[in-house]
């Protein structure tokens, strides 16, 4: 065991990430053995559809959790983005490109709202999340008059092209975009000033502040990054699943947070791994596909992710206690 840990490749990637990756592979093999016909491109594409939007949510919330905060308004905000921009397109005739930009912009604005309240007003993040979750739901419902919105299908001659962002002639464009986004996030977190400060302030805010760093600014930035990524997630959600319904979206909060904490990002802040988040998201997505394939109701997923998060976070808490 120790030998594996000392392997230079393993050390670089992180032992936990390697384990997590093995879990992913094992899960896939297990599902293939349990469910006839699970093996194959169709299932993988279906898993990927889930990965795209959940991946962006998870990447976003990774930044927030790295500061030691939390954002569980991401699911409803994603729906809000999809609803408002979709409504503008379907009922007000806006071109799809405007809608896409609008979606990202709405996510960005929610990020600004959350970040401002958390960092400049020092309101506990969970309270802000709770409020903005409901505000997002409310605004979407008011704007769309409580209608579901269906985005144009790929056959739509004018607006259908946006689905090429998800897949083009069966080629998973979405996966490429997601991996590029993940790579950018990784660079931002590890090799730039915002990333450095976000991680450090998550670990010890006062020490960073007393070093003459504007911690409020950087903390807020984490929420803004998160919001923007949530806006992008909305595009992939409608690209894969077409219809958004007002009043929902909170079921994805937990899955996004689960993907993030499974990957080794600590709820206490200061430690984050984008690579881990990517693998975590893959596991969660595979899990939900597997649960459906095994013939269980989709709602089992809620219970399973709930338990996963509890177990993973408890492991993190215990690891911290042992260190002290």
């Amino acid at each position: 065991m120790d030998k594996i840990k000392q392997n230079p490749f393993v050390r670089k990637v992180g032992f936990n990430r390697v384990i997590l990756f093995c879990v992913l592979i094992l899960m896939y093999v297990a599902f293939c053995l349990m469910v006839p016909g699970f093996f194959g491109k169709a299932r993988i594409m279906s898993v990927m559809n889930y990965v795209y939007f959940l991946g962006f949510l998870s990447l976003g919330v990774t930044f927030v959790i790295a500061t030691g905060g939390i954002d569980f308004s991401i699911g409803p905000v994603m729906f809000c983005c999809g609803l408002i921009s979709g409504y503008t397109m379907v009922f007000k005739g806006a071109p799809v490109i405007v809608s896409l930009i609008m979606s990202i912009l709405i996510g960005f604005l929610f990020g600004v709202f959350n970040g401002y309240l958390v960092s400049y007003w020092t309101i506990p993040p969970f309270i802000v999340s709770m409020a903005s979750m409901n505000i997002a739901k409310g605004i979407a419902a008011v704007y769309t008059k409580t209608q579901s919105i269906s985005w144009p299908l790929s056959t739509d001659p004018v607006n259908g092209w946006f689905r090429n962002l998800v897949s083009y002639n069966g080629f998973p464009v979405g996966l490429v975009i997601f991996l590029i986004a993940a790579f950018i996030c990784m660079v931002v977190l590890n090799n730039t000033k915002p990333g450095r400060y976000i991680l450090c302030l998550g670990s010890n805010r006062e020490a960073v502040r007393l070093s003459g760093v504007d911690t409020k600014k950087w903390e807020m930035l984490a929420y803004v990054i998160c919001g923007t990524l949530v806006g992008i997630a909305a595009i992939f959600f409608v690209g894969a699943y077409t219809t958004v319904q007002p009043g929902y979206g909170d079921q994805y909060n937990n899955e996004a947070i689960a993907g993030c904490v499974m990957g080794g990002t600590s709820m206490a802040g200061g430690l984050a791994s984008i690579g881990g988040t990517v693998i975590g998201v893959l596991i969660i997505s595979l899990l939900q596909e597997g649960i459906l394939a095994l013939g269980f109701a989709k709602d089992i997923q809620l219970i399973v992710t709930g338990i996963i998060v509890i177990v993973v976070v408890y492991a993190d808490v215990m690891a911290r206690r042992r260190k002290n």
Partner: protein, 326 residues
């Protein structure tokens, strides 16, 4: 050293003024609101909020939170309702099951937070999802109506004399809630449980060093919260014709918002159940009253969210001023 506190510095008093102002505004703008039946229906829909809020006051005073009460109460009401419908379970037993279910979930939350040391919002977010998952697997269930056998439980909240349009309805549930509020206010201020709840929120370390079994009382705060979520489930079943599976997310916001409006500090350590009652009423008035002044019901979520943030902002501003004075 003790400063004489003016009435105006008591947040509860200000909240009371807000309630009066809201009622007056509604009455002026809406003849509909002035009717007894409107008041009655508003009260009907306030009970589960009040009950949830009484319960969640305790975790909030410990500087924690319970996000699972909303989906929780729907889950309890569904499971118990199914038992009544399909398994001939007596309503009294079903009510007991609601409460017990609440207590069990509360104990789980408490253990995760108080013993295992998970962040409160995260642990309860998980139980929120879990209870929601459970409730999604139960069929939609109506509890017995007033006239059906077992419908007696409605009279806990509303006494009905006579039938049809002329029936005299008395909102006795309000009295029940007020009594519970007073009992819990007493519990908060004059029992060990209440005192240690405040202590956990104020300075947990010191409480531990005083030799108090902090873990036990920390768990108890969530158990009490769960118990009241169970009671709220009964009140919910009494007013909602058919409890829908998988719903309930967002109900907790009304309760938690009410608690903060009522003056519980966002960092814990201070709070009052009477304040909670007043705070919830602000939320309930905003929620049920908006249609009377011509706003879509959908606005209520937005407004509750803003009120919640506003209440906490006031608390933050107050604490900043105090810190500056020192």
């Amino acid at each position: 050293m003790t400063k004489k506190k003016s009435l105006l510095s008591d947040q509860r008093f200000i909240v009371l003024l807000v309630i009066i102002a809201l009622v007056v505004i509604y009455m002026i703008f809406s003849p509909e609101f002035r009717k007894y039946s409107s008041i009655l229906s508003m009260l009907d829909f306030s009970y589960y909020d009040i009950l949830m809020a009484i319960g969640v006051t305790f975790p909030l005073i410990t500087a924690g939170v319970d996000l699972s009460i909303g989906t929780g109460l729907v889950c309890y009401a569904l499971v118990a309702g199914r038992l009544v419908r399909d398994y001939n379970c007596p309503v009294a037993l079903a009510m007991l099951i609601c409460v017990l279910f609440g207590v069990v979930v509360g104990a789980v939350n408490g253990t995760l937070i108080g013993v295992m040391g998970l962040p409160p919002f995260l642990a309860t977010l998980c139980t929120c999802m879990i209870t929601r998952g459970i409730s999604s697997m139960v069929m939609a269930t109506p509890w017995p109506t007033n006239k059906q056998p077992g419908g007696w439980f409605h009279s806990i909240f509303k006494l009905t004399f006579g039938t049809g349009r002329n029936a005299l309805k008395i909102p006795i549930g309000f009295l029940v809630c007020v009594i519970l509020v007073l009992v819990m206010e007493f519990v908060l201020n004059h029992t060990k449980f209440g005192r240690y709840t405040i202590g956990i929120g104020s300075n947990k370390e010191a409480l531990t060093l005083s030799g108090v079994n902090v873990k036990f009382y920390h768990v108890m705060a969530y158990v009490i919260c769960g118990l009241f979520a169970g009671l709220a489930a009964i009140a919910y079943a009494a007013v909602v014709p058919t409890v829908q599976p998988g719903t309930g997310a967002g109900l907790e916001l009304d309760a938690i918002g009410g608690v903060f409006v009522g003056g519980v500090s966002a960092t814990g350590g201070y709070g009052s159940v009477i304040g909670t009652l007043a705070g919830v009423f602000v939320i309930v008035l905003l929620k049920t009253g908006l249609p009377y002044v011509g706003l879509q019901a959908n606005w209520q979520q937005i407004i509750t969210g803003i009120v919640l943030i506003g209440a906490v902002m006031i608390d933050v501003a107050k604490r900043r001023r105090m810190a500056k004075e020192q």
